[in-house]
Structure formats: C-alpha cells, structure tokens
C-alpha cells in the first residue's frame, strides 16, 4: 500500500521542511494514489451534475423568451426548473469539484497522503443522495422559496452529514500535516472549510428550522447566499489559482505580502457584502450602506490578488499554448477581477438603481460562478485527473473544443446580457415606457443567451467525453502526454518508448 507519513522510510526522506524534490516524486505519487478514489468520485459525480445542470439551464433559458416551451408540464415550469438549475450547478458541480480540489490540494500541500479515504467516499455518497432528494423535491414543488437555499428541509440533514465528514477530515489532515510551512492556498482552504458550516447552519436555523420574522429573513438569506460565493467558492478558486499558476510555470508567486493582504482583507470585508442584493429594499439604510461600503472595499483584496497573479504570469503567458490547465486557470483568474469589479460597481446606489432587478445581475452571477469559478475548476481537473488516474488525456482536440466552447460561450453569454440588462434597467426607470415594451426589448439578448448556452453545452459534452474516454481506457496502451504532442518536444529517457 502507499507509504504513510509515519513510515520510517518516508520520514527519512522528509526531515523538517524539505520539499519533495529531494524526496523524489515517490511521496507525490503516493499522495496522488491515495487520493485516487475520493477525488475521482467527487469529480465524476460533479461532472454528472454539470451535465444535468446544463440541461436545466438550456430549458430555463429557452423558456425565458419562448414561454410556451414545455408549458404544460408542472414539474418543468420555469419557477421550478430555474432553481433546479442553480441547485445542480452550485451544490452539485461546483461544490463537488471544489471538494475534490480541496482534498487534493490539502494532501499535496500538507505533504500527507490522504487518510481514511473511506470517510470521503461515504461523504460523497451522502452528498449525491441529499442533492438528488433535494432537486427532485424542488421540481415536485417543495422549494423553500429562498434563493440559493431552495432544497427542501428534508434533504438538508443528509447534506449536513456529508459536509460534517468532509470538514472533520480536512481539519484532521491539517493537524497531521508533515509540511510545517503554510502556503497561501492552505489559508484559503482552511478558511473555506471553517466558514461554510457556519453559514449553512445559520441559514438553516434562522430561515427554515426556526424562521425569523419579516425582512430579517431576507437579510439572513442574502448574508448566506453571498457568503457562499465569497467565503467558499472564491477561496477555493483562489487557492487553486495560487497553486496552479506558479506550479505549471515553475516560478514563485510574486509577493508574499500581497498574499497576506489579499487574504485578510477578503476575510474581513467579503462577509459584510451580503445586503448589496437589497439596495433600495425594505431594510434600514444603515444595513444597506454598510454592505455597499464593504463591497467597494473588496477592490483592495481583488487588486492585491490581481497584481500577485499578473506579475507571477508576466513573461510566461506563452505557456498557455501547451498547458490546458494554465489556459483555463488564467482565464478564470482574469475573470475573477472582472467579476469583482463589476460586482463592486453594481453595489453603488446610483448603479444599482439601473441594474437591480434586471438581467445584468444574472450575467454578473455567471461571470463569477462560470467565467471565474467553473473555469478554474476545469483547469484544476485537467491537472489533477491525469495524476490521480496515472493516465493521460486522450484527445487534444476535445480539450480545445472544451476550452473554446466554454470561453467563447461564456463571453457571448455575459457581455450581451450585461448590456441588455442595463438597457432593461434604464427602460424600467422611465415610467412612460409600458412594461411589455421593456420585456420586448430584452428578448434579443435572451435569445443570444440561449445560443451561448448551447455553445457552453458543447464544451461540457466535449469535456465529459474526454473524461469518460480517459477513465474507460478505450484507446489502448500508454500514449505520449499531450503536452509533448502539442509542443512537439521530446523528453529524453523520462518517458518510456
């Protein structure tokens, strides 16, 4: 079996803070091998949820401009299939891939092979079970009516079991780490693991189990929903970017001080943002103002992180040609900056007056969750999967199709829809324009969005085919790694003939 940290052989190789280069790749390979089952389970089920979520997305998008589509089916009415889409992509694909990435990064950075893989596998089973129960519940009409928390009460305990197992595992691994130095990614991952149960628990108690009275519900709702983005998905995404950019190009991160600044200002400011979803709403002015200030303050960590990533990458952008991982990660990192600036500006009262309640908000949500987070997850999967399966990606063409499908698809989605949303908001603010005319002017942008969704779906299908192909090994014996095929170079001796 794989060598554990406690084995004398491994200990001899790792005195103190020595990095694995001197210990040979054995430990790294052991870590990857130990992660194999749990990480694969989470990645593959995450991929399945991505495909399901994409189908729900296409149905919802089409219904928005052609409402009679599947109009007679109560289970697929827009008000149910749209939250089903959100739930499957957020709590299915995004959550599960982030758990897989978290597991793998934790093990790699702690230099510890994965302990008790059975726990994670059980967690995965419970997560998928809870999610299936939840999504079917939403389609059946048991949605809670609370955005980002639509899964019915009866599915929550199942998910809670799963998450508790993962959180406990993560903290134990962290305690048992062999590598004393804490790399920046580990700060973000530890923070995410501790923050999420607090958020989720508060939301469950104060909104579902013992609901608070009146608009306090709206407050808790958006404190929770925004913090899922800012205190779970953003840290996991940033942890991945902080790891993969320097790893793939072989250069250090630009500035440790910027990393520290970025982490603590994110931790301090991000969690106060929630009420910017309620600008103009029925809440006392001070609550809204506080969130607006925090949203603008977010420019500090976003700038710090952007400078850090950019100056690490500068001079090495050419490497994106050879590394699919780098392509997706850099796209995601740049989108993080775009999404955050768009978000900070949207929080200002004068901007919110136009963009609130419009499709601009939806476009912004997709810049954050797709152009940033999902692309970073895709990039992570392109790096991690070959290492935990010890196989190579079968098809460079499918990778290309995936990248261009996702990149072009998301740009075609967010740019026209953001613009359409602004036009919609301006028209709404002119009371002399009848409401149905406002609806009519948004239709072209909604149709473009559906078309963009089809392109995204093509990318996802290409990705799924590639993964299944890799796992099933239909193509035969060992092949040259894609990196070499693409770059045309040959590594001597390291690769057997």
């Amino acid at each position: 079996m794989s060598a554990s940290v406690k084995s004398p052989a491994v200990r001899a190789l790792l005195p103190g803070d020595v990095s694995p280069e001197t210990s040979a790749p054995t430990l790294t390979a052991d870590i990857d091998a130990s992660c194999r089952a749990p990480v694969l389970f989470f990645f593959v089920s995450g991929l399945a949820w991505l495909l399901i979520g994409t189908i729900f997305a296409l149905i919802s998008a089409y219904k928005m401009h052609s409402p009679d589509f599947l109009g007679n089916c109560e289970w697929l009415t827009f008000g149910r299939v749209r939250p089903a889409h959100l739930t499957t992509v957020v709590y299915g694909f995004a959550m599960e891939t982030s758990i897989a990435v978290l597991i793998w990064l934790m093990c790699r950075l702690c230099r510890t092979p994965l302990i008790a893989p059975g726990i994670i596998t059980i967690a995965n089973f419970f997560w998928n079970l809870g999610l299936t129960v939840g999504v079917v519940g939403i389609l059946a009409g048991d949605s809670t009516g609370i955005e980002w928390l639509e899964m019915p009460k009866y599915s929550t305990p199942i998910l809670f079991i799963s998450y508790a197992l993962i959180a406990v595992w993560a903290i134990i691994t962290f305690r048992l780490r062999a590598e004393k130095h804490l790399y920046v990614s580990q700060w973000y991952l530890l923070a995410a693991v501790l923050w999420f149960p607090w958020l989720y628990g508060t939301a469950q108690v104060m909104l579902l189990l013992s609901p608070v009275r009146g608009v306090v519900q709206a407050g808790v709702n958006w404190w929770f929903a925004h913090n899922v983005l800012g205190l779970w998905f953003t840290p996991v995404g940033l942890a991945a970017i902080y790891y993969f950019i320097p790893k793939v190009i072989g250069r250090p991160i630009h500035s440790y001080y910027l990393s520290v600044l970025g982490f603590w200002t994110l931790a301090l400011f991000y969690n106060w943002n929630g009420f910017h979803h309620l600008v103009g709403g029925p809440l006392p002015a001070w609550m809204i103002t506080v969130s607006i200030v925090a949203s603008i303050m977010m420019l500090i960590p976003v700038t710090a992180v952007a400078i850090n990533h950019h100056f690490t990458m500068v001079g090495h952008f050419g490497k994106m040609r050879y590394s699919p991982t780098l392509r997706f990660i850099v796209f995601g990192a740049m989108s993080y900056t775009v999404a955050s600036v768009q978000g900070s500006l949207s929080a200002l009262r004068s901007v919110s007056e136009v963009t609130h309640f419009t499709h601009h908000t939806i476009a912004h949500a997709h810049v954050g969750m797709y152009a940033f987070f999902t692309m970073v997850m895709f990039g992570s999967m392109y790096y991690i999967l070959p290492r935990v399966t010890q196989r190579e990606w079968p098809s460079a063409r499918l990778i290309s199709l995936h990248f261009w499908g996702s990149a072009l698809g998301i740009i075609l989605y967010v740019v026209p829809l953001s613009y359409g949303g602004i036009l919609q908001g301006q028209a709404l603010n002119d009371a002399s324009i009848p409401f149905l005319k406002v609806v009519a002017l948004t239709l072209p942008y909604l149709k473009i969005r559906t078309f963009a969704g089809v392109i995204l779906a093509l990318g996802h299908v290409a990705f799924a085919v590639n993964i299944v192909w890799m796992l099933v090994r239909v193509f035969g014996p060992y092949r040259k790694p894609l990196q070499m095929i693409i770059s045309g170079s040959e590594q001597p001796a390291a690769v057997g003939k």
């Binding site: 790294t28 790893k247 001080y257 390291a494």
Partner: protein, 273 residues
C-alpha cells in the same frame, strides 16, 4: 504469467496479468505525469507598492465618509439613506396641460394592462378607448364615473356600430389606485387626447364635483345605469331607488330617442290624464 503475442493493434505488448487493459508496469511511464511536474509553488517576497498602499488608504477614507453620511444614524426606522430629492426636472415652467398629459401618460400604464398601450382594447377583456365616442364625447362625466367606481361589464355599443361584450370580466374601481382628483383628471385627459382622440382636457375640479356626487356609492356601474348618465356636466339621474325624475333636457332627449309609435302612445296617455 502468460505472454501476449504482438498483433497489429498492439505492436508492443506488455505482460497483462494484473491491472487495466493496456496499463503499463514501467514505473517511469506510470509516473510520467508526476515526473514532469515542476516543484511545488513557493512565495516570492516583492515588497508592497506604495501606490497600492496609497490607493487603499484613499479607499478606506471614502468608505468611512460614506458610512457616516448615509447610515441614517443606524436607526431601524430610517429607510432613506439621505434626502433624495430626485424630481422629474424641467427647465423652466411647463405648460400645465402638457404636464398634465405627461402625468396622465404615466398613470395610463395602469389602464394599459387591459385597454392596451395604443388604446385599442382587448376583445373580451376591455373596450377600445381610441376613437371611441364614449371617450370623445363633449363631457367626461361617464368616463370619470367609470374610472372612479368601475364597470360591471355587459353589452354596450361603441360608436353606435361596434358591439362590445365584456361578460365575466368587470373593470375594478380605480379611485384608490390612480389617486386624487389631479391624478384622475390627468389620466382622463390623456385618454381623451391621445391616439388621435378629439376630447378636451379635464380639470381636477370636475373630478372633485363628480366624486362628491357619487359619495357613498361603492358599486360599479351597470350598463343600464351608465347609459342613463349624461356625458356632459357632472349630474346624474337620481339614485336608482325607483324615482325616475328627469330634468327637462333629459326628458326631451329621452322622448326624442323613442320610436315614433311609442312616443305617440305616451303622448296619448298624457293627453288622457
């Protein structure tokens, strides 16, 4: 350990006793991905740029001042962050009728749900307002009353030719929705002057008078009742409690509208009294 002969598909066979089909047992091949990895990331130690620190300080200053200015003293009753005097700005005094029409156009959005943006109405839902003799009549008495109290629906004739039946969908009263006399006058003015309509604008005083005339009544108008109400002025036949007192003018109109033989019958009856 059985050897596998080479074939055209697999020119370099390896021993296949364990592992997946085609999986290599060459350690270096298996760990190729790990071998070509670069070392794990490290941090560099570039110092923070002073420009960044200055920008952060500026942002903190802005945040602090915004927070103190717009917090409504952290009271739970303060919903406005600051007195927000955003009025529909006009340069210079505006012609009151134009202002009234503009206001009426905005209020008309409420009516447009049923009567359509272009006043064409919707079959089975609401009668047309554009080009309707009801709207273009010399006075807005009927229209104002309908707006105030609603209309039960039923067959009525528009322009003496078009039959419109709104069975099963009443027009609800709109007194509260549209608001005070100025608002009602504004929306009725808009209806009477838009889409090529030839009616005259309506003043708030008229609405006030009519409101006073119908005070106490909450039922919507029936077709019979509304047809009895004259289009001009602000009067109405007396309450529908049985008395049929008509003014001289109203009596004349009524008699003129009767078919000839009925008129003859009445005159004969009056003659015999």
């Amino acid at each position: 350990m059985s050897a596998v002969p080479p074939s055209s598909k697999n020119p370099n066979p390896v021993a296949l006793t364990q592992g997946d089909r085609g999986e290599s047992h060459d350690v270096i091949q298996v760990h190729a991905a790990v071998l070509r990895e670069k070392p794990d990331p490290k941090e560099g130690f570039e110092p923070l740029s002073l420009w960044l620190v200055a920008a952060i300080a500026g942002l903190l200053f802005w945040g602090g001042s915004y927070l103190t200015q717009y917090s409504g003293r952290f009271e739970k009753d303060e919903f406005e962050e600051a007195p927000h005097g955003k009025s529909v700005a006009t340069s210079g005094p505006e012609d009151p009728v134009t202002a009234q029409k503009r206001k009426g156009q905005v209020l008309y959005n409420i009516c447009a749900n049923c009567h359509n943006d272009d006043g064409a109405g919707k079959p089975g839902v609401a009668p047309p307002l554009a080009g309707s003799d009801w709207v273009n009549a010399d006075g807005a008495n009927r229209i104002i009353r309908i707006v105030l109290l609603g209309f039960t629906g039923g067959p009525l004739k528009i322009n003496a030719t078009t039959e419109f039946n709104v069975a099963g969908a009443a027009m609800p009263p709109h007194a509260d929705v549209i608001g005070n006399d100025e608002n009602i006058a504004a929306v009725v003015t808009y209806i009477r002057t838009a889409w090529g309509n030839t009616g005259a604008p309506v003043k708030a005083d008229e609405v006030k008078t009519i409101r006073a005339a119908v005070v106490g009544r909450t039922d919507p108008w029936t077709p019979d009742e509304i047809l009895k109400i004259p289009t001009s002025g602000s009067g109405a036949p007396a309450a529908a409690s049985g008395t049929n007192e008509l003014s001289a003018d109203q009596l004349k109109d009524k008699l003129k509208a009767l078919p000839a033989d009925q008129l003859a019958k009445i005159l004969k009856e009056l003659g015999t009294k």
